[in-house]
Amino acid sequence: MKGIVFNEFFGLVDETFGPNMTETIIVDADLPNEGGYTGVGHYDASEMQSLVGHLSARTEVPVRDLLLAFGKYLLKSFSRNHANYFQSCSDIFQFAQAIEHQIHVDVLKLYPDAELPRLAPTLESETRLSLLYRSSRHMADLAEGLLLGAIEHYGDTVDLERTDLPDEDGDQVARFTLRRR
């Protein structure tokens, strides 16, 4: 997982729970680098799971809720720093279809070692799009938060439905269905 994600997470904790909570969970997590993340560095995703777990323990907020909130927060950061991707799409359907075939392709050009989830889109009708999520990181909650953030970004009146599917070869699998109202 890229260091930028950790730094954004610390930004969220600083803003939401105060910098002392950030320091606390860093100590709690006993991280190998003591929490010194650089944005373009690559780190083990289990460190994020540990940080979120300790934040949940300290705040008594469920991990799922924390990851959903973090996804929305992260989406805002992405939309600020990578505005061109968001501007090239006119709505959430276009954006959701561009994730796998454009955004992830470009990410891999810059970071060939990045381990990205797969998000296979299927446009089932003009008002219905499904995304099949599959990842060894087991971060479907974070992906859901990101999608909710993107829906908010485009201001579309779209409902998001998530269906958890059985794991495949150790990967978490889920189907996100977006329906226009």
Partner: protein, 450 residues
């Protein structure tokens, strides 16, 4: 975020983290810089390699002795090498954009072949086609063309060979082949010469005997007429008619005139028959040894078989009985008469040798038949000789393949037959044989039209 809430220790930890992150970032930056440098080096090497490959390919393209033309899918010329430029007599820089079909001419089939290689789904295969490269002056140069996709940007590579020299060489080869066939025919005649001499000698002998007989007849008749003249011109006592008749009758009996006159018509008839026989053999040899026309002409195969049987009679008459069943309404074939004589000669020779080797009980038999099957004139030559072993059947038409004893066969006979039938006359030959029983060769030649 309010860092004022943080304790001094917490601020120190955060500062330490930031330092650590900055150091990590600097390390990554250095690593990325090195990777970028290496990537640049690789790109420079690749660019040099590509430049070199381009130069080499360009040199090869330009130096090829064949005309090379690159076209797009619309068959518009994008690039051509100097040989192509010379072939089409195009000035430098003139061709790009020009339509390749406009630079070519030939049969409808040729132009269809070229146009089939245009478009998004061209017919690309290993085939070649012959037509003409057309120059602005109107001169047309015979060429052979192939086309392939080069796997880039839908470009097609056309290889265009100037085949003027090749066609001249082919023509020369044809002349040489005809000379070779003629030489082989003359060689066969040489081999047959003693037999032919024997065939001629027999009638010549009895013609000579008959002429001697006629000489004797002339002498006797002359002597008798002299006796008549003498009797009529005698002086002295007149003789009676009865006395004169008795004197001449005595002379007639003495000279055996009656016998001579009785035998003379038969001697003349026999001599005329012998002369006809000799004339027929000489005519057959002359026909057989004629080099023939270079152009194909209608040929009567029945006549070819008759002639060849006459010439070769001495080679088979003591070995086999020849039966022939020749279709009297057989249409002619368009062919080279000389080659067809050679063909029949080789098949008869082959049959004779096979029979001589086996010496079948009840005598050797060669059966030759002709007939018409659909549009083909069919000749069958059947013998009851040794036959061909299964293992040898596919090789009998191979040059230099022979099962005869060393010195007896060159292995060329059936190879020549195959070439005359298949290459020279567009026909087919098949062989049906049972080892120890005999062989049948069947030849099908297209009948001449009209």
């Amino acid at each position: 975020m309010t860092l004022e809430q943080l304790s001094y220790e917490a601020l120190e930890r955060r500062l330490a983290r930031e330092k650590k992150a900055r150091l990590a970032a600097e390390g990554l930056l250095e690593k990325k810089s090195l990777e970028l440098f290496q990537a640049n080096q690789d790109v420079a090497e690749q660019a040099e390699l590509i430049g070199r490959e381009r130069a080499v390919l360009g040199a090869v393209f330009d130096a090829r002795p064949a005309a090379l033309v690159l076209t797009n899918s619309a068959l518009e010329v994008e690039r051509l090498n100097p040989v192509a430029r010379r072939l089409f007599a195009l000035p430098d820089g003139a061709a790009p954009g020009q339509s390749l079909p406009d630079l070519l001419s030939g049969s409808a089939g040729f132009l269809d072949w070229v146009r089939a290689r245009a478009g998004a789904q061209p017919e690309i295969d290993d085939s070649t086609v012959e037509g003409f490269a057309r120059q602005a002056s109107g001169e047309e140069i015979p060429v052979r063309i192939s086309c392939s996709l080069i796997g880039y940007n839908d470009l097609r590579l056309w290889i265009i060979l100037d085949i003027r020299r090749h066609l001249a060489a082919e023509e020369e080869k044809k002349v040489l082949e005809r000379s070779l066939v003629q030489a082989q025919k003359m060689e066969a005649l040489g081999t047959l010469a003693s037999g032919v001499a024997h065939e001629i000698n027999t009638p010549i002998q009895y013609i000579g005997d008959n002429v001697s007989f006629l000489q004797e007849v002339c002498g006797a008749v002359g002597a008798f007429l002299g006796a008549v003249d003498g009797a009529l011109a005698a002086e002295g006592e007149p003789v009676s008619r009865e006395q004169l008749a008795a004197t001449l009758a005595g002379k007639r009996a003495e000279l055996d005139i009656d016998y001579l006159l009785e035998e003379t018509p038969s001697a003349i008839a026999q001599s005329l028959h012998g002369l006809k026989q000799v004339a027929s053999i000489v005519s057959a040899i002359r026909e057989f040894s004629h080099p023939g026309d270079t152009e194909m002409t209608p040929v009567d195969l029945n006549a070819v078989i008759d002639t060849t049987l006459s010439v070769t009679r001495n080679s088979w008459k003591n070995i086999a009985e020849v039966e022939h069943e020749l279709d009297p309404d057989l249409p002619s074939v368009l062919g080279h008469a000389g080659d067809l004589h050679q063909l029949v000669l080789n098949l008869i020779g082959n049959a004779t040798d096979a029979i001589a080797e086996r010496a079948p009980a009840g005598g050797g038999k060669i059966r030759i038949s002709t007939g018409l099957e659909r549009n083909n004139v069919v000749i069958r030559v059947q013998d009851n000789g040794t036959g061909i072993k299964d293992a040898d059947r596919t090789r009998v038409f191979d040059p230099f393949f022979t099962t005869k004893a060393p010195g007896k066969g060159t292995g060329q006979g059936l190879a020549i037959v195959f070439k005359i039938v298949n290459v020279g006359h567009g026909g087919q030959i098949s062989v049906d044989s049972t080892w120890g029983e005999g062989t049948t060769f069947t030849i099908r030649l297209p009948r001449s039209e009209g």
